[in-house]
């Protein structure tokens, strides 16, 4: 038996289909109006979850891009400040080089000093560069000028980091104490007013330790004396167990442009300590001393009592060879050739004097070799007692065991260097001017390194920004695939539904009006 079909069933079938098609039409209409495929979470839960995650990523990308732009602003300003700084340092070095030669004199040096003072002020201005209202070089103290007029640093050494990607933190600054300091050399704090007495033991790399014999220890020495001692010209090695081995003959000593003095060495005074005493007894501007190395070998060293002055020692050796390294001729030292070893320690010392403060500066040679300075301030034979390593007074200010245990620091402010040059120019001090050239070289090196560091960060930020822009495009594409309606398809769907509705209406009218009653007359 077939199913009975009543008119109500047909009517309900019609309304149900009508409703369902109108419902579909409403959905397509909504898609066409909004351009979106998903208009509420239940339309596509997984799709919406995806779009939400993508939107979070997009927001992150735009936030990181904002951060990066901010960072680029700060880094670019820093980079240009460092470039200007390089120009100032180069100009200063050029001036120092001009005035270091003998052609420089009081008058030219005074004029040059004006320019150096101007360059100094310009450097202060660069140090106080701002990004909007923030000082670039003050570390965290962005509201405080990095340097005062005398070049004293007023910020801290903190790095300012920002996020430029998920979990990627990057520095956007360089603090003034790093950017305006040369870091190749180690410097003491100011030694002005300090009484420098006692013994130093200096070991460079795995080389020979240097310390003074009892008779030579510092007693109220000036920084220059310590510098000269460290830099002093030194003899070859003598075995202290065979003191006679020095040999006999005559030494002709000459300090600077002074008159030569001849000293006869015979078997009664040929021990190193006797030679030292004989030379010192001449009082002719040359000081001799002895240090003992770790192997117990005694070494003679000579230096000029006038800082920076050259000395020469000519030898008439009784062994009839006046130039070889055996016998007394081991002490031969002229401008052209020398049997004395210069700077055998591997350390060079400099005194820097900015007019008020004097500092000792140590530089390893070759660069990068580590060295140790042990101190015996009371010269009691025990090194590095508490009083020998304190960081407040006396010779212990030179104590240096390692980078972390040291009274020396490795930032010599550019301003100190310029003050030093200025002071040397005022005092017509050629040696001081020459020292400043060395320091300016170091300053330029440091600046080049810092500029390269900032430049590579800037590049990294730029790269990161491009990467963000790339990701943004691809995320937007993926988002569009999930979220956006296919308008062409929606429009076709619309037409299809309209056609169906029309067909349904026509057929339904005919069906619903069919009735047997129409035929009963």
């Amino acid at each position: 038996m077939s199913t009975r079909v009543t008119s109500l069933m047909m009517f309900r079938q019609f309304t149900k289909s009508l409703n369902s098609h109108l419902n579909d039409m409403g959905k397509v209409q909504n898609q066409l109006a909004t351009g979106k495929r998903i208009t509420k979470p239940s339309d596509d839960v997984i799709g919406l979850r995806g779009t939400m995650a993508y939107k979070v990523s997009l927001n992150d990308l735009s936030q990181y891009t904002r951060n990066i732009d901010e960072g680029i602003g700060s880094l670019a300003l820093t980079e240009s400040a460092l470039t200007s700084m390089t120009h100032i340092l180069e100009r200063t070095r050029e001036l120092a080089l001009n005035e270091s030669s003998d052609t420089g004199n009081d008058a030219t040096r005074e004029i040059t000093n004006y320019e150096v003072r101007n360059l100094f002020n310009e450097l202060v201005n660069i140090g106080n560069s701002k990004n909007r209202d923030k000082y670039l070089f003050s570390g965290y103290f962005t509201r405080t000028a990095a340097f005062d007029a005398s070049g004293t640093y007023q910020g801290d050494s903190n790095n300012i980091d920002i996020y430029i990607g998920d979990g990627i933190k990057s520095r956007t600054n360089i603090s003034g104490d790093v950017a305006f300091s040369e870091s190749e050399r180690l410097s003491t704090t100011s030694l002005t007013g300090q009484t420098l007495s006692g013994n130093l033991r200096i070991t460079s790399g795995s080389g020979t330790p240097f310390y003074l014999e009892a008779g030579d220890v510092f007693s109220g020495a000036s920084p220059e004396v310590i510098r000269d001692t460290v830099n002093a010209v030194m003899t070859g090695t003598f075995d202290s167990t065979v003191p006679e081995a020095v040999g006999t003959g005559t030494l002709t000593l000459k300090a600077g442009n002074g008159s030569p003095v001849t000293l006869t060495i015979d078997s009664t005074n040929d021990e190193p300590s006797q030679i030292r005493d004989a030379v010192n007894g001449l009082n002719m501007g040359i000081t001799a001393g002895i240090f003992t190395d770790a192997a117990g070998n005694e070494r003679l060293f000579f230096r000029s009592t006038t800082p920076g002055q050259g000395i020469s020692i000519e030898v008439d050796d009784d062994d009839d060879n006046d130039t070889d390294t055996s016998g007394l001729s081991a002490l031969r030292h002229t401008d052209l050739t020398s049997n004395l070893t210069s700077n055998a320690l591997g350390i060079q010392a400099l005194v820097i004097d900015d007019g008020t403060d004097k500092r000792l500066i140590f530089e390893s040679d070759p660069a990068g070799t580590s060295f140790v300075i042990d101190v015996d301030e009371d010269n009691n034979g025990t090194w590095n007692e508490a009083a020998d390593t304190d960081s407040t007074t006396g010779l212990s200010l030179l104590y240096h065991a390692s980078a972390s245990t040291s009274n020396l620091n490795n930032d010599i402010s550019f301003f100190t260097i310029m003050d030093h040059l200025s002071n040397a120019l005022t005092n017509n001090d050629s040696a001081g001017i020459e020292a400043s050239i060395l320091l300016l070289d170091g300053a330029l090196d440091s600046t080049v390194k810092n500029t390269a560091d900032i430049g590579s960060r800037l590049k990294h930020f730029d790269d990161q920004k491009f990467r963000m822009e790339d990701s943004e495009v691809s995320i937007r594409e993926r988002l569009a695939v999930i979220e956006d309606a296919d308008l062409a398809e929606a429009a076709m769907e619309m037409t299809r539904i309209q056609a169906t509705l029309e067909a349904m209406r026509i057929s339904s009218i005919q069906n619903l009006t069919q009735s047997l009653f129409n035929f009963l007359r």
Binding site: T6, T39, K40, S42, A53, R66, R143
Partner: protein, 549 residues
């Protein structure tokens, strides 16, 4: 058999067809009446009479009216109506919630959450900026307001659902009392006669179907024709008696369904009422709970980091919260003794807070256990601490300090939640941008953004209190859950709707009135009637012929 017998046969034909015509017209006039069951006449042959010529028919005998009714389809329709009622009320409640979280249109928390995080990022690049500092406070404020608005929207939806439940209970009561009345009428009509109380049964079936769409119930038809209806483990209709359901407000502020002073809410699982109860509990235990947990977690994590930092005052302050600190909500669920509890989150231990809710249940007057409210797991077993009345007894679990005082009795139960008031008490504690602790240094130099970086880092990290996902993806999960709940409600609604449509068609196919059929019947019975009348006229003529002989 006499000639007069022909009159009787003709008369029976007239009466039978007339009755049939009346049934037909009743059908035609009820063609659009909902719930009407098609009737038809069943004519029976009258018992024959023995004559000389053998047994002779005596025309039409009894005319019975038959109802085209299928009990099996009816039961199926009742069941589906219950399902349909449930999914339609669930869908309407959940679609309201879905609109609150409609991230597809940009409503919801996502954008204000992003802007809040972005404001921290902007502060990280410019910790000294007064503009960035006040922008952060404004964005935090906006985030707070959005969260509060969302909670209040959810609560209004819940309130509407509770109001709706009260309305539905009223309708149920009206229906059950009407069914009871119809029971009386049906029993009355069907008692004396073998005839069915067709119209009353139709009415009762309509009401039972309506009742089924409101709540799930079981019923049984007695031999006298009355039905017994049992719903929510209570007999609401028995014979002519009906028992009303009522509602009461429970501890959580929701409407409970009450039958004879017993709470029966949990026994109702179908119909509109069941749908309201289930949707309400879905919303509370998922959406509302999760939203509060997200806000509580953001409050907690933001404060933990902010507290450690230093602000931008001339003399930098530290140990200050960014948002009002989390407070605990406590509720007495069962109290037969005189015990009470207090719970706080001390600053010293708050790093350990897990944002779980707890129940403190007394096993006897001095021993109690602490249970995780969500999982039911015992986290502090009975006997760990002993309470000696009147106390106070204080203990700390996961950063929450609980103090018991008074004399509680066995089975007394207290509820402790860090979430309940998390949104309500969600406020920015700071009033001035300079109070934002951007620095981790006690001197708080203006360019120090380290504390802000720590904050930014935290926002990108997985948060253990949220099940090790980020804030953003936790919120994404909330939206997904809302979407899934509504999606399944929409799916089952359309499934139930289609099934109900098919079942109604099946019923219509049997019980519905077909006008064509009735038109044909009309002609048939009209002709039958005309013929019977003609027979009487013929008999009259025959009699006349005889009389005129």
């Amino acid at each position: 058999m006499s000639l007069l017998g022909l009159f009787e046969i003709g008369k029976s034909g007239l009466a039978g067809n007339q009755k049939a015509l009346r049934t037909t017209s009743n059908n035609i006039s009820n063609v659009n009446t909902p719930g009407y069951t098609r009737q038809s006449v069943v004519m029976q042959i009258a018992s024959p009479v023995k004559t000389n010529a053998g047994y002779m028919g005596r025309g039409v005998g009894d005319v019975e009216i038959k109802r085209y009714f299928d009990n099996f389809t009816f039961l199926q329709i009742l069941g589906k109506s219950t399902d349909y009622g449930k999914s339609s009320s669930m869908q309407s409640g959940l679609s309201n919630i879905e609109q609150i979280f409609n991230e597809a249109k940009g409503y919801g928390l996502s954008s204000s959450l992003e802007e809040y995080f972005n404001a921290w990022q902007d502060l990280a690049t410019n910790p000294e900026g007064a503009a960035q500092r006040s922008a952060l406070l404004v964005k935090a404020e906006a985030f707070v307001n959005t969260a509060k608005q969302m909670e209040s929207d959810i609560n209004s939806t819940l309130k509407l659902m509770n109001d709706e439940a009260v309305e539905v209970v009223k309708q149920i009561n009206v229906l059950s009392s009407n069914i009871a009345k119809l029971n009386g009428k049906i029993v009355e009509i069907e008692a004396g006669d073998i005839e069915e109380a067709r119209e009353y049964r139709d009415q009762r079936e309509i009401m039972m179907k309506e009742l089924a769409s409101l709540m799930d119930y079981e019923f049984n038809e007695n031999s006298d024709g009355s039905v017994i209806i049992v719903a929510a483990r209570g007999t609401i209709v028995a014979g002519t008696e009906s028992t009303d359901l009522s509602t009461s407000i429970n501890l959580e502020g929701d409407r409970d369904i009450v039958y004879k002073s017993n709470t029966v809410t949990s026994y109702i699982s179908g119909g509109e009422l069941g749908g309201l109860i289930e949707a309400r509990s879905d919303i509370k235990s998922n959406t509302l709970h999760d939203l509060r947990k997200l806000v509580a977690s953001i409050t907690h994590e933001t404060n933990m980091i902010h507290y450690a930092g230093y602000d931008a005052a001339a003399t930098p302050n530290t140990n200050v919260d960014f948002f009002d600190s989390l407070s605990l909500y406590t509720r007495t669920d069962v109290s037969t003794g005189t015990g009470s509890i207090a719970a706080t989150i001390p600053v010293a231990t708050r790093a350990n807070v897990t944002l779980d809710e707890y129940d403190l249940v007394f096993t006897d007057a001095s021993n109690f256990e602490l249970r995780n409210h969500a999982t039911g797991a015992v986290v502090v077993p009975a006997g760990t601490y002993t309470h000696t009345a009147p106390g106070p007894t204080t203990f700390t679990y996961n950063g929450v300090e609980i103090t018991v005082t008074g004399a509680p009795a066995a089975n007394d139960s207290f509820f402790i939640s860090p979430l309940q008031n998390a949104v309500q008490n969600f406020n920015v504690a700071l009033t001035d941008g300079n109070q934002i602790a951007a620095s981790q240094l006690a001197t708080s130099p203006p360019g120090d953004n380290t504390n802000v970086l720590a904050m930014v880092e935290r926002f990108g990290q997985d948060i253990s209190n949220l099940g090790s996902v980020t804030f953003q993806s936790y919120y994404g999960e909330i939206v997904s859950k809302v979407g899934s709940l509504n999606q399944s409600a929409v799916d089952s609604l359309s499934f139930d709707e289609n099934l109900l449509y098919e079942l109604s068609n099946r019923r219509e196919s049997l019980s519905g009135v077909s006008l064509d059929e009735e038109a044909a019947n009309m002609i048939r019975f009209q002709r039958g009637y005309e013929a019977a009348a003609r027979l009487i006229k013929l008999t009259d003529e025959l009699l006349e012929t005889i009389i005129n002989l």
